[in-house]
Amino acid sequence: MSTLLEINNATLKFGGVVAVNDLTFSVEEGEVYAIVGPNGAGKSTVFNLISRFYNPYAGSITFDGHNLLDRNADSVADLGIARTFQNIELFDHATVLQNLLVGRHRHRKTNLVQEMLFTPKVRQEEKRHREAVEEVIDFLDLQPYRDKMIAGLPYGVRKVVELGRALASGPRLLLLDEPASGLSVEETQDMRWWIDDIRKQMGITVLMVEHDMGLVSGVSDRVLALADGAKLAEGTPQQVQSDPAVIEAYLGAGAA
C-alpha cells in the first residue's frame, strides 16, 4: 500500500479562530479513513482545504505525488478527488440524471462549438458518460428517481444522489462529509454497505467525517480524532474510542 493523500503541518486561521492547527496525517491507498471530533473541531475545514476552497496558512498537501497547493479548486477533480458536502450541495433545479452527469464533467473532451452542433463525437461521448452514470444508478438503486427534480426529493434520497454524483466522476479518493447525518437507521445501514462496496469492489479510497461511531467503527480502517483543529489521537477505531484524551474531549464538549 502506498500513501495517496498526505497533509503535513497544515494550519488555517479564520481571524482569531484556529480552525486547523499544525495538522499532519496521511491516507493510504485503498483504506477507509475516518475523521471524528466534536462540533467545530475543524473536520469540514480539512475537507475544504483538500478541495482548495481555502488556502492553508502554512503546511503542505500532496495527492499521489501532486502538490495540491499548486492547483485551483476547479482542477482538484481532475486528479480524481470527488466529494460530498455536509449540507448537501446539489443542483436543485436539475434532474437526478443531470446531477450525476455533472459528475462526469472532468471527463469532458469536446468544446463549445462541437456541443452546439452536437457532432458525432459529442454523441459518442454522451453515450459513454451515460453508461458510467447508469452503473452508478444501478449501484445506488436510484432508478425510481432518475428523471426527478432534486427540489422535490426527500432528504435521504438527496444524500444518496450526492454520493452518486461523486462516484460518477470515477474518483480515486472520495471525501464524504457526514454521509449518515440525518439518515434513518435503515438508510445508515445501506450507506454502510455502500461504503464497504465502494472500497472493496471499486477500489476507491475513502476519507470521511462522521459522528455516528457505529458506522465509523463498522467501515473504517483507521480513525483520526480532532479537537480544536489539532490531532488528538489516531489509530484503529477501538484504539481511538478508548483513548483517554478523546473521551475527555467528548465529555468536555458534552458538559459545556
Partner: protein, 361 residues
C-alpha cells in the same frame, strides 16, 4: 398516460423523447412553414415579431434561466448586433456573411464585457449591466460617423443568392428567414442542454461550490454563457433592425432590456418553451390592450404607461402565483391530463426538506 421505456442510452440523448413528441413538433414546424398561405400579411408580421422576440428571449434565457446570471444590458447587445450587421452590409458584405459575423462579433464583445462582470452576483450584476444599456445609447450618438447618430439608419434590402427579402414588400420571405434563424437557435440551445457545457451552466446556477468541486471552471462557464447568449441576442437584434426598417440610438433603450427580462420570467425561467410563451405575451399585449380599449369604448383616450403598467402587473401576478411562469402552468395542465383521473391536488407541492435536526436522538 404515456410510459417511457428506456431501451438504450441513446434514448436520453435523442432530441425527442418519443414518437408522439416528434410528431407534435414536426406538425408545428409544418404549420409554421405554411403560415404565409394561412394568414394575411398583417398577422404574419405579428408572428414574425413574436419569433424575433423569442430569439432574443432564447439568448437571455441561456444566461439568466440556464446559468443564473441576470442581465439588464441585453438591449446593448441587440443594438450591437443590429448596427454591425447593417454596417457590414453597407460595406458590401452579402447578408449570409454579415449576419453570422454580426452574431459572432456581438458574442465576442459580450465575452470580453463578461470577464469583469462575472465577479458580480445577482442584483449587483443586474445593476452593472444596466450601465451597458445606458452607455449603448451614448456610444451610438458619439460614433456618429459610423452609426449616423440620432438621425439613424435604414435597413437595406437582404439578398440571398439573388432572392430579395424585405419586411414590407416580401413579408412571407422575411418570415421564413426569421423562422429558419429561430429553428437554428433553438436547435443549438437544445444541443447545449444535452451536452456537458449546458449542464455545467445549470451547475453554476444552482451551486457554485459543488460545481467547482466537480471540476467546472466557474468563470469560464459564465463567460461562455455570456458569449453564446450575446451572439444569439445579436442575431435577434439584426432581425429587429430589418423588421423595424429604420432605427437610431433610441430604438434599443433600457426599456427593451427590462421587457426582455420580464418576458422570460413570465414565460418561465430555464426552459426553451418559456422564451416562446413570453414572446407571445410581449408581442401581442399592445394589440390586446388596444382591442380591449376599443371594446370598452375608450379608444380616444390615450393612457400613458398603460402597456408597461399592465405588463408589470402580469409580472407581479406570476411571481406571486406561478413562479415557474407560463411554462410551469402548462406542464401542470399537461400532467393533469396525462394522469387523468389520478392527479392529486397537492402533487406539485414542493417536498419539504429537513436538515439534520430532523433526527432527534
Amino acid at each position: 398516460m404515456r410510459i417511457h421505456f428506456k431501451t438504450s442510452y441513446e434514448h436520453d440523448i435523442r432530441l425527442f423523447p418519443d414518437w408522439w413528441s416528434f410528431c407534435v413538433y414536426a406538425t408545428l414546424i409544418v404549420i409554421a412553414v405554411a403560415l404565409p398561405w394561412l394568414m394575411d400579411d398583417f398577422f404574419l408580421g405579428e408572428v414574425t415579431n413574436v419569433l424575433i422576440w423569442a430569439i432574443a428571449g432564447l439568448g437571455l434565457m441561456l444566461l439568466t434561466g440556464q446559468t443564473g446570471q441576470a442581465s439588464l444590458g441585453h438591449a446593448a447587445f441587440l443594438a450591437l448586433g443590429c448596427y454591425s450587421c447593417i454596417i457590414f452590409m453597407e460595406q458590401g458584405w452579402p447578408f449570409l456573411i454579415a449576419f453570422p459575423a454580426a452574431g459572432i462579433l456581438t458574442g465576442v464583445v459580450g465575452t470580453i464585457i463578461a470577464i469583469p462582470a462575472i465577479r458580480l452576483h445577482g442584483i449587483y450584476l443586474a445593476i452593472a449591466t444596466i450601465a451597458l444599456s445606458i452607455l449603448a445609447d451614448d456610444i451610438i450618438v458619439l460614433m456618429e460617423p459610423i452609426t449616423d447618430g440620432v438621425s439613424g439608419k435604414f435597413a437595406p434590402m437582404i439578398n440571398i443568392f439573388g432572392i430579395e427579402i424585405e419586411r414590407w414588400t416580401t413579408p412571407d420571405r422575411f418570415y421564413w428567414l426569421v423562422l429558419a434563424v429561430t429553428i437554428l437557435c433553438t436547435l443549438a440551445y437544445r444541443n447545449l442542454l444535452r451536452s456537458p457545457l449546458g449542464r455545467a451552466m445549470a451547475a453554476v446556477r444552482d451551486s457554485e461550490v459543488s460545481a467547482t468541486a466537480m471540476g467546472v471552471h466557474i468563470a469560464r462557464t459564465k463567460a461562455a454563457a455570456f458569449g453564446i447568449s450575446c451572439a444569439i441576442t445579436g442575431l435577434a437584434g439584426a432581425l429587429m433592425g430589418f423588421y423595424a426598417g429604420a432605427f437610431n440610438n433610441e430604438t434599443f433603450s433600457i426599456v427593451i432590456s427590462i421587457t426582455l427580462l420580464m418576458m422570460i420570467v413570465i414565460g418561465g425561467l430555464g426552459s426553451i418553451h418559456g422564451a416562446f410563451f413570453g414572446a407571445v405575451v410581449v408581442a401581442f399585449l399592445p394589440q390586446f390592450l388596444s382591442m380591449t380599449k376599443d371594446l370598452i369604448g375608450g379608444s380616444s383616450v390615450a393612457i400613458p404607461g398603460l402597456e408597461t403598467g399592465v405588463f408589470g402587473m402580469i409580472l407581479i401576478l406570476f411571481i406571486l402565483f406561478e413562479p415557474m411562469g407560463i411554462y410551469g402552468r402548462w406542464m401542470k395542465i399537461r400532467i393533469w391530463f396525462e394522469l387523468f383521473p389520478f392527479a392529486r391536488k397537492d402533487m406539485f407541492k414542493r417536498q419539504k426538506s429537513y436538515l439534520k435536526t430532523e433526527r432527534l436522538r
